[in-house]
Subunit: 205 residues, 2 copies
DNA sequence: TCACTAGTGCGAGAACAGTTGCATTAACAT
DNA sequence: ATGTTAATGCAACTGTTCTCGCACTAGTGA
């Protein structure tokens, strides 16, 4: 029989708060189960038993992080919406301390964290779909434009440069990615392939 | 005085081979200095002294990985070239065992590995620039088209979905990303912004 | 109020990562 | 060949991470 009441919930809150505080103060590398437990005023064993490892802790933090009311900005144009979105992604990936980067890094160390990050992004991209819906209504892009590929096209270059290649933020990168995606979308690049569409054979590779 | 001869070189080869073998057999999570040293028939201390940690080992593997004669395929069209490139990236990110993914994961654990991965990708993208040069010569894209943003736009969605979001390879994803980039490039989306170009202000976010 | 038990605290200890001092080996120059 | 010394082998040591068994605390239902 589960006991979500009093102590269990209180300890969970204490521990997750400690994780966020440790993350902010000392970064991800210093995030150990021991430090979290000590800061939360809880015994190590309790943390190991309930969260298994650092990845489990971060996965729990992820899940609670998704419980907000975030919505993409509505600027009145597809390009404006994508620019605003990319500004926010850029800010998240370059913030100090690098909490977002820490969570991405953790997702490569723990299956739990990876799944939690996947759920988080899935949720965020779902909330962004109205951007494309509004663009269709305004006639900026053809009906049948697929939201996900368009959103991925607009945002992926930022993640690629900042999260994967670990290069500094290039001025104009966010804007160029948004411009490119909006332009490609307006020419119908993201409409669903006609049934039976197959990729052209690129000859011998 | 340095001694690149006999023993030093031989041990380096043994150890790096052991790293690759461990990576292939047991994945990244099981990659410990001890396991590598044992497999290479070398003492732990030697590995610690020369490579410092697991990240140093992987950085060395990265650097040797760049010592090949890889060149992008020349299919005769920009779209074909990008499709071929994405096919190779897709294959690398989904290969079994996931050696490439293991190296990407390692780059989040070690600064050395991250820098080595950066050098590797920088080298690869540099080798891909002729793709854009040929497209300009054929008149497929306007002169002044920037190679890097175009290549990033074509390849980033693959990395985003497979490496970051850890989702399965969606059929047609590689082809759609290549198509989009080629289409956007042909409309001049990747020409250098005119001097003084600034991103439109997206109003309040 | 009182038994029941999920969840927690505690300490011992195993397992692993990483370091240090010293002896030994073998590449290089002469 | 022979001495020099960079590089390696070896063993003992430190410190951290993680597990396990048992006692205890505090929600929960009667």
């Amino acid at each position: 029989m589960s006991r979500p009441g009093g102590r269990t919930g209180r300890i969970r809150r204490q521990v997750l708060d400690a994780v966020r505080a440790e993350l902010v103060e000392h970064g991800y590398d210093a995030l150990s189960v021991d430090a979290v437990a000590t800061r939360a005023g809880v015994h190590r064993t309790t943390v190991y038993r309930r969260w298994r490892d650092v990845g489990g802790l971060l996965a729990d933090v992820f899940d609670t992080a998704g419980d907000d009311a975030w919505q993409p900005a509505d600027t009145g144009s597809l390009l404006g919406d994508l620019l605003a979105l990319n500004d926010q992604i850029l800010a998240a990936l370059t913030e100090r301390p690098p909490a977002t980067m820490a969570l991405i890094a953790a997702s490569f160390r723990s299956e739990d964290a990876a799944r939690a990050l996947g759920r988080f992004w899935e949720d965020r991209y779902a909330r962004c779909e109205p951007i494309v819906g509004r663009a269709v209504e305004r006639g900026e892009v053809p009906p049948g434009t697929l939201a996900r590929p368009l959103l991925i096209c607009a945002t992926a270059p930022l993640y690629h440069r900042l999260a994967l290649m670990r290069l500094p933020a290039e001025p104009g990168l966010a804007a160029m990615a948004a411009r490119t995606a909006a332009l490609a979308a307006s020419t119908g690049a993201f409409t669903a392939p006609e049934p039976g569409f197959t990729a052209p054979e690129p000859g011998d590779i």
